[in-house]
């Protein structure tokens, strides 16, 4: 198939690639840009591991043709931390055990980010509803819920968090 030159806006940067017009956004992110934080867990939009934010809205990148999203702002998990500063949601997942194997984690965090941007004080039921399209096989979701609650607390306090490299 003939490749096309496309330009995508990913994590605040314009990126270009030559891709087949039928190539999925997930594959372009992973294969052409090395953004492997977005995961493939299924082939039929049932798991949510490939979730990215398209203009702030969570969508499954395994269902989307990359060529169709050239006018959108795309956020992947790699764009969530501010340099070495973890986002409060990422920090919540670390300290509350929200990431066991970590495979669903990027999708969970991006979905939670969208929820908290719209609704900074969600109820437990609202958190459950928001995350219901993201499957996890490790945690039974309890520690994911407490991770989001921790993030809400941290966002309220707005404490900057230092990440040391080692």
């Amino acid at each position: 198939m003939r490749k096309e030159r496309i330009q995508l806006h990913i994590n605040g940067q314009a990126r270009e690639a030559e891709v087949e017009p039928n190539k999925l956004l997930l594959d372009v992110l992973r294969q052409d840009f090395g953004l492997t934080g977005s995961k493939r867990g299924c082939d039929d939009s049932s798991c949510g591991a490939c979730t990215v934010l398209i203009d702030g809205e969570p969508q499954m990148s395994c269902l989307m043709l990359a060529v169709s999203y050239q006018d959108c702002q795309i956020t992947t998990i790699e764009g969530v931390a501010d340099g070495s500063d973890l986002d409060p949601i990422q920090r919540g997942f670390c300290v509350e055990g929200g990431a066991q194997c970590g495979y669903c984690t990027p999708g969970m965090i991006l979905t939670a980010q969208h929820l908290l941007a719209r609704n900074p004080e969600p109820t437990d039921q609202e958190i459950r509803e928001a995350l219901s399209g993201n499957l996890c096989r490790c945690t039974g979701y309890m520690q994911i819920l407490s991770s989001v609650r921790k993030a809400i607390e941290l966002l309220r306090e707005r404490q900057p968090v230092e990440v040391q490299q080692r």
């Binding site: 493939r40 867990g41 790699e78 990431a99 970590g102 958190i127 096989r137 490790c138 080692r166």
Partner: protein
Amino acid sequence: MSQPLSFPAAGASPIGARIPMVDSVDKVTGAGKYADDMTLPGTLAGKILHSPHAHARLRSIDTSAAERLPGVYAVLTGQQTPVKYGILPIGHDETIFAVDKALYIGDNVAGVAAESEAVAEAALRLIRVDYEILPAHFDPEKSMLAEQNLIHEDRLHNIEKEYHHHFGDVEAGFAAADYIREDRFECAEVTHAALEPNSTLAKFDPDGTLTVWSSTQVPYYLMKALAATLQMPEEKVRVVKPLVGGGFGGKSEVIPLELAAAALARKAGRPVKITYTREEVFLAHRGRPRQIVELKTGVTREGKLTAVEARIIQDGGAYCGYGVVTILYSGQLLNAMYDIPNVKFDGYRVLTNKPACGAMRGHGTVNTRFAFELQLNRMAAVLGIDPVEIRRRNLLKPPCMTVNGLRVLSYGYPECLQKVAEKSGWKDKHGKLPYGKGVGMAGSHYVSGAANPIIRSQMPHTTVKLSIDGTGTVTIFSGASEIGQGSDTMQVQIVAAELGIPVERVHIVAADTALTPVDLGSYSSRVTFMAGNAALEAAREARRKILDAAAEKIGTSPEQLILENGRIFCINDARLALTFDEAVRLALGSGEKLMATGTYAPPEDAQGGKFKGAGVGPSPAYSYSAQVAEVTVDTETGEVRVDRITAAHDCGKAINPINVEGQVIGSVWMGLGQAVQEEMLWENGRLMNAGLLEYRSASTLESPPIDPIIVESNDPEGPFGAKEAGEGSLAATIPAVAHAIFDAVGVWINSLPITPEKILKALEEKKKSEVRSYESELRRK
């Protein structure tokens, strides 16, 4: 990346600290690499051709058109890869690609490596296979009677293995019983469905060295299988385990793609990566087999168990896999959490033309435990004894040996029962909730590592090495496989605690067969106990060397020194004597790195009895769980809503309570899936629900609150007293839910999963029998 987050306060021990996993930052930022995230220059896409028939002889395979397709670099069939393998030495019945026959829908027939997935898929479509379709076997109870068209010619009646154990005297036991029950239980087949699909990247160096990055729980066994099937020396094979996106046992044996990727890479002369589709993951399977349990238990009026007898049939699928171990676990742990003097077990592992089953969380014990615990509750109900109380009347009295030779030292089960009853409000709820609501309880247990290795050898089960440099930075070299359960973090905490230094000074290099010592793998919940003990032993050796050097410098004896939080003091002297890194430099002298080694092998008295099959079941220690489930049953629709599970788990000692709680909750949740909704649905050998939605993996909306309680029995041989936490809680959830359904609406469901249809049918039958007894009462009047 680092561990930047909240660590224990200075001076606090890392043991029992709720610290984040050492790889958590990699996971929340997307920086961590799983097998499918990796690529090498020139990597080809590998794809596998699967059989569309459940049982078929391969008359011929024509790959010439596929080989001619531009962009195709290698095509392989079974003729070129005929070496048999299997995870168990007694079960070498698989080949990378089928040689004579395909044995299930999805069996591997050929493999292709091509420049892209699209080309590889096109090449698969060009392979012509001439199949002679054979009669297939799907029902294990029929398959085990088969005389013809056997799945493996050397397995008569399609029975992979059968065991017949008898301990004590069950006839005498039943004669002493006041009440005997016999029930048949059926448990549907379930699978791990780890979120990460299996993936393997393989490359050959010009000198013939093979390196494989794979989603595996068992890098060491994979290395051996690669060497055997590719007929290479083991020292030329390196297996690296990157991050693994969940295993639950599904990656604890060698999965065909791991060998196929390497074989194709060799033929193509280029790196090859194969990543399964979700459907292929379902067909690779190795999950929990469908199991039929015919269970007979005797009990006295006072509730003392006198005998138990089980006939167990497992529908193992087309290959042995771990099957011999699975059927043995189902018998060997039947009695082992209670004091039961007389035990009989007849177990049959049966072959059918379906994907091979294998090890899944709670390996072999789960369905037997469901049957036993539910039947025990039913007997307690008849005898009018509280279900918690009947368990108390049958406790082991450790230290002890069970009748089948399992050594039990620590036993937190009584405390689990007490705490779960208290926290769940058992007394106020059991038998007292309005119709439609109910509570149920059950127990379970699991091994903290198999006391006997899969491949018999005198080698330690695990070896851990430490390297400490002159800055006082510690690096752990461990073969143990982190799969999300926290094994890297556990070892870091143990080493930091023993060396009296903060955890951020300890790094870990793990699960790379070229760099790290041998560890047998992440299976049978062995890592905390075994790798933890080896890490502790290595840290003790390093500590001794460091304190010896410090004592010599200070002019005292090592016993007079205290090492904590990176500082060394003399007893009764608050002044700092030396820092940790100063002492390390003294110990190093002119050397560059201070090295220490620890190993672990289970003690002889924990290795089990001398009978056939005695090798499976023995463990240096067992975890215990007691749980209470609360449910609401809609009698109109038959729908069960699980409202809450309270789960007490004896993990010996919680090295990291947040991870222990995560493991307990995750186990309970997975048990819940098996209890009420998960099931592999088969039609003539075809899997009808090979997708995560169709398989009905629960989302946040169907997942109830799960309340974990940690019980610490401090095992005398566990590292800091620790035992397993990752599997033992799964089994109790299922009978607890089934029992709660009885408490809610008065029906016992012996078949898993407990679907609305089964509940409605049972309620209907109950109504009919009540009408019948009312009518006969009227007639009597």
